[in-house]
């Protein structure tokens, strides 16, 4: 199933921070089907005939709308950033396997830079499905500098506690996002509480979070960011070594076998 190839009108397209944009699309079919951690494959306006599609995480979905949060990094996003409100964009999705929709124990969400994008939709989903007395998600977010911290107000509006680290100390604690995470892990261990880890960001961060999941015996859900060609499993460009159900390691396709994998299955 390659999802719907839906023509979506741009409802809103604004800066999230310098160099980062929110894109809100009218996408009734995709929005009705998408779950947290899945992605969409966007045919970039202006480059329809000259470029491959670009894959994006879903920041928010539902009510017929799809919100993407992206960083302007290259030719595709440079062209996308100019798409005006009212223009139409072809979007293929929802694609891939996302995060689980419920959590045992405390949901610890760990995002690096624009890796927070799927974690917002995840936080919203977990909160919607949680029992009234369940612990609320905590977001640990890191960036090189304060300018890389995105949409924190949107997380706080959901009731998510946000803990920040920046490499240069311009916001939150100076250091890496795993520093405040490790403090929380120690506190939870002391209280004997269970938790699950959910992460998206650069590979170094994903690895660090995966090690903490496997090291503590808790569940870890890792969203891999890979350049893609087809997005539907046809081309085998976006592979990651994964331990299969039979114990054998194979080259999994991040687009159809992921992008979210279990921490213990990833071969780093």
């Amino acid at each position: 199933m390659a999802g719907f190839n839906e023509t979506c009108r741009v409802l809103e397209h604004v800066d999230a921070a310098p160099g980062y944009r929110f894109l809100v699309l009218a996408a009734p079919k995709i929005a009705a089907a998408v779950t947290a951690g899945q992605f969409v494959h966007v045919r970039v306006p202006g480059l329809e005939k000259t470029a491959l599609r670009r894959p994006f995480s879903v920041f928010d979905g539902g009510d017929g709308k799809l919100t993407l949060l992206y960083k302007i990094v290259g030719r595709g996003t440079e062209a996308l950033k100019a798409a005006p409100v009212g223009c139409e964009i072809e979007v293929l999705g929802p694609l891939g396997y996302g995060f689980p929709s419920t959590c045992d124990g405390v949901p610890l969400l760990v995002g690096g830079g624009f890796g927070v994008a799927p974690l917002h939709f995840l936080a919203k989903t977990l909160l919607a499905n949680a029992k009234p007395d369940a612990p609320k998600p905590i977001l640990f977010v890191g960036g090189r500098t304060a300018g890389d911290l995105l949409a924190l107000d949107r997380f706080r509006a959901l009731g998510v506690e946000v803990r920040v680290a920046t490499n240069d100390g311009s916001a939150g604690v100076k250091g890496f996002v795993v520093d405040p995470l490790d403090d929380e892990l120690a506190a939870l261990r002391e209280k004997g509480e269970t938790f699950e880890l959910f992460t998206c960001g650069p590979d170094g961060l994903l690895h660090a979070v995966a090690m903490r999941a496997t090291g503590t015996g808790m569940k870890g859900w890792i969203s891999m960011d890979r350049h893609m060609i087809c997005g539907v499993g046809a081309c085998f460009a976006c592979i990651q070594k994964i331990k299969g159900a039979d114990g054998n390691v194979f080259n999994a396709r991040c687009c159809v076998n992921g992008p979210v994998f279990k921490a213990e299955d990833i071969v780093w």
Binding site: T50, A51, L92, I229, V232, A234, F236, I239
Partner: protein, 308 residues
């Protein structure tokens, strides 16, 4: 109504459009995103006897006008393909078009064994074999067999002996003269030619001064290779009677019709599908419209109809 049916080397196709190997997985990946009724066949990703892991990452790089890839023919092996992937395709796609199964191997024997395994599977949808003797991305693989007419004849002969299915041989464009290769295919009993495979290519990151691809080099596809394909088809059609399945930068009907006028009996849509999943169906519609508008009762009249 224009008659869109063609017969390419014994393979009956309801339309002259198929997919290009390597761009369309094992056939079912684009279910729901493409109108399969417009396809005369589906050409699947290359399979060999054994499971094959493919190349290290990164496996692709977008370039202006195209795509350089070095996927490295990752695949499940011929027996699992026939046992699991073909039935899955049959279940997933309504009125599923017949499959052209692309094969490769590390030896003449392996090519023959792969063809024999697929033939013996006797699945009604396994309708033709396309030999990849020209993949630029696997050292021990196809490329070696496609660069020497004598070895090419030997491997085609071995596969011919192993299967009665229509046999296509996919050739590389990067040879000084296609003639000896086409002649080798004819003599060895091929039923049709597939033209063209990707063109060897390389991309370097000047910041790191390293090759971009994990395999260092790859194969170029996309819009930019289209005129190369037209020239190869034009040449092969002039000096051979073998029917031609043409591929290389087919994005729309115009691209396809050019290849047919140059001598192709059918066309495959490849890299275009990545951007527009329904591209192959739109190519089919466009060919029909062109025939209608220009008074061709059958699409077969387009083959080699170049005005010179």
């Amino acid at each position: 109504m224009v008659d869109l049916s063609v017969n390419v080397g014994g393979l009956a196709m309801r339309t002259p459009v198929t997919t290009a190997s390597g761009t369309f997985g094992y056939g079912a990946e684009y279910a729901d995103a493409l109108d399969y009724a417009k396809l005369g066949a589906v050409t699947v990703k290359g399979v060999r006897m054994e499971e094959w892991p493919g190349n290290p990452m990164p496996r692709h790089c977008e370039v202006f006008g195209g795509l350089v890839n070095a996927i490295g023919l990752q695949g499940p092996g011929a027996a699992p393909f026939a046992e699991h992937y073909v039935p899955h395709y049959a279940e997933s796609v309504k009125d599923a078009p017949p499959l052209i199964v692309n094969i490769w191997g590390g030896s003449v024997n392996e090519y023959a064994e792969t063809a024999a395994t697929l033939t013996k599977a006797a699945h009604p949808l396994i309708a033709a074999i396309e030999m990849n003797v020209s993949c630029p991305n696997v050292k021990a693989g196809g490329h070696t067999f496609g660069q020497d007419p004598k070895i090419l004849a030997e491997v085609v002969k071995a596969v011919r002996a192993a299967t009665a299915l229509p046999l296509f041989v996919k050739l590389a464009p990067n040879v000084p003269d296609l003639r000896p290769y086409v002649a080798a295919c004819e003599e060895a009993g091929a039923d049709a030619l597939s033209l063209i495979n990707t063109i060897p290519a390389m991309v370097i990151d000047v910041k790191t001064r390293k090759p971009v691809l994990g395999n260092k080099t790859g194969g170029l596809s996309g819009r930019c290779v289209h005129p190369v394909a037209v020239k190869c088809v034009y040449d092969a059609h002039r000096f051979s009677k073998l029917p031609i399945l043409a591929m290389g930068g087919v994005y729309d009907a115009n691209d396809a019709i050019e290849l047919m006028l140059a001598g192709a009996s059918a066309v495959a849509v490849g890299t275009a599908t990545f951007t527009n999943p329904n591209a192959a169906a739109e190519v089919c519609d466009g060919i029909a419209a062109y025939c209608e508008a220009n008074g061709f009762a059958s699409v077969r009249e387009l083959t080699g109809a170049l005005a010179e």
